[in-house]
C-alpha cells in the first residue's frame, strides 16, 4: 500500500513537473514589449533560469545567445531558424536569447525580428551583471557570443562557437538516436 501511494505521488510529481518544464512558454518575464506583431519577453537571469533546467520529457532545448550587432551571430541565425522548422516535430525547442542593448529594444531589435521574419522563440535578456549569470549558463563560457546550449533530459552541452546547419543538425540527430 505504501508503495502504491508512493508511486501515485511520484507519477503526479513527474507529470506535474513535465507540464511545467517542457517549454519556454511558461517562463514569467519581467515585462513584455509589444510593437506591431512582435511581443518580446524581457527577462533578467533570475526569471530566465528555468530555461536551463533539464526537460522532464523527450524535449531537446536549443538555446542560442545572439545580438543584432554581432555579425557572426546574425550570420548563423538562419541555421537556428532552419533547425526550428525542420525539427519542431522531433521535440526540438529553439530559443534565441538576445543580448542587445536594452535601449535599442524598440529601435533595433524588434524591427530586426520583423524584417528577418524570425519564427523561433525570441527572448530578451536584460541583466547587466554577466559575472553572476554567465557561469550559471556554463563555467566554460568566456562571455563571447555567439554561444549555444543544447539541453536534454540527461545532458547539458555548451558551445562557444558558430554552427553550420550540418554541424548543428548532427548534434541533434545524435541526441535523437539516444
Amino acid at each position: 500500500m505504501r508503495y502504491f501511494l508512493l508511486s501515485i505521488f511520484l507519477s503526479l510529481l513527474i507529470s506535474g513537473c513535465s507540464s511545467v518544464n517542457t517549454s519556454a512558454g511558461i517562463l514569467i518575464p519581467n515585462k513584455i514589449v509589444k510593437e506591431g506583431d512582435v511581443a518580446l519577453e524581457v527577462h533578467d537571469f533570475e526569471s530566465l533560469k528555468p530555461l536551463f533546467d533539464n526537460p522532464e520529457d523527450k524535449v531537446i532545448k536549443v538555446i542560442n545567445f545572439w545580438a543584432t550587432w554581432c555579425a557572426p551571430c546574425v550570420e548563423e541565425l538562419p541555421v537556428f531558424e532552419k533547425l526550428n522548422t525542420n525539427y519542431k516535430d522531433n521535440g526540438v525547442e529553439v530559443t534565441l536569447v538576445s543580448l542587445d542593448f536594452p535601449g535599442q529594444l524598440v529601435s533595433r531589435v524588434i524591427p530586426f525580428i520583423q524584417k528577418q521574419k524570425l519564427k523561433s522563440k525570441i527572448l530578451f535578456l536584460d541583466d547587466p551583471y554577466g559575472n553572476k549569470w554567465i557561469p550559471q549558463v556554463s563555467e566554460d563560457w568566456s562571455g563571447a557570443i555567439p554561444a549555444t546550449v543544447i539541453i536534454t533530459q540527461d545532458s547539458y552541452k555548451f558551445f562557444e562557437k558558430s554552427f553550420s546547419y550540418r554541424d548543428l543538425a548532427l548534434e541533434i540527430e545524435e541526441l535523437l538516436e539516444e
Partner: protein, 205 residues
C-alpha cells in the same frame, strides 16, 4: 605488396597528423592568473613598434583587447580612457590591442584603428595584433577583455576579465573590478576578485 605497406604507413601518418591538428584546436591555451606573460612588439597607430619593455617607469600594465567594431568594446572606450588617466601616472598605463583579423572585419583595419584613435583622442598606445600572434598567447577570446600585468622579476598576470560588472551600461555599474585590482596592487594587498566574466564580441579570426 611493398606499395601497399607504404600506403598503409602513409595513412597512419596522415591520421596521426590530423589527430594532432584537431587536438591542438581543442587545447585551451592562454594565461591564468599567476602565469608569466610574454612581451611583444606590435605596431602602434602612430606607426612605431611598441613593447612592454620600453616602459621603464611602469609598475605594470592594464592590457585591453579592444577593437573599433564591437559595440561592447565601444561602450567601454570612455571607461578605458578614464583608467589610463587615473592609473598611468601611478605606474599602470593602459595598452590597447586590436586582435581582430581585418580581412574578416574590415572595420578593424590598421587605417580604421588610426582613425578611431584620433577621433576618440586615445591617450594610450592602440596596437595592431598583426598576424594574430599575441591574443591566442594571452588567451583573449573577446573584446573587450582585460589582462592586468605586474612587473615583479617577470611580468605576472594578476587579473583577467571585465573592466567592471556592467559591460553594457556604465550607469548600472556597482563594482569596478579593474580599479579595485589596481588599487590592491598599489597598496600591496591581495586582489579580491582576480577573474571575472562579461559578454563580449568573439575575436574575428
Amino acid at each position: 605488396m611493398k606499395t601497399l605497406k607504404i600506403l598503409f604507413l602513409l595513412t597512419v601518418a596522415l591520421v596521426a597528423a590530423a589527430a594532432v591538428i584537431f587536438g591542438m584546436r581543442d587545447y585551451k591555451s592562454g594565461y591564468e592568473v599567476g602565469d608569466i606573460a610574454t612581451d611583444f612588439s606590435l605596431k602602434n597607430v602612430s606607426g612605431n613598434q611598441v613593447s612592454l619593455s620600453q616602459f621603464n617607469d611602469a609598475k605594470g600594465f592594464i592590457l585591453v583587447f579592444m577593437c573599433n567594431t564591437c559595440p561592447f568594446s565601444i561602450a567601454n572606450e570612455e571607461r578605458i580612457l578614464a583608467l589610463d588617466k587615473k592609473y598611468k601616472s601611478v605606474g599602470f598605463p593602459v595598452i590597447g590591442i586590436n586582435p581582430n583579423n581585418p580581412v574578416v572585419s574590415p572595420g578593424d583595419s590598421f587605417e580604421a584603428m588610426q582613425q578611431r584613435a584620433k577621433e576618440k583622442n586615445f591617450t594610450f598606445p592602440y596596437l595592431f595584433d598583426e598576424g594574430q600572434q599575441v591574443y591566442p598567447q594571452y588567451g583573449a577570446t573577446k573584446t573587450p577583455h582585460v589582462f592586468i600585468l605586474k612587473k615583479e622579476n617577470d611580468l605576472v598576470v594578476k587579473y583577467i576579465g571585465a573592466i567592471d560588472n556592467s559591460v553594457r551600461d556604465s550607469e548600472t555599474v556597482t563594482e569596478k573590478y579593474v580599479e579595485n585590482a589596481i588599487n590592491s596592487l598599489l597598496s600591496d594587498e591581495d586582489i579580491k576578485t582576480t577573474t571575472t566574466k562579461a559578454i563580449g564580441c568573439s575575436i574575428k579570426e
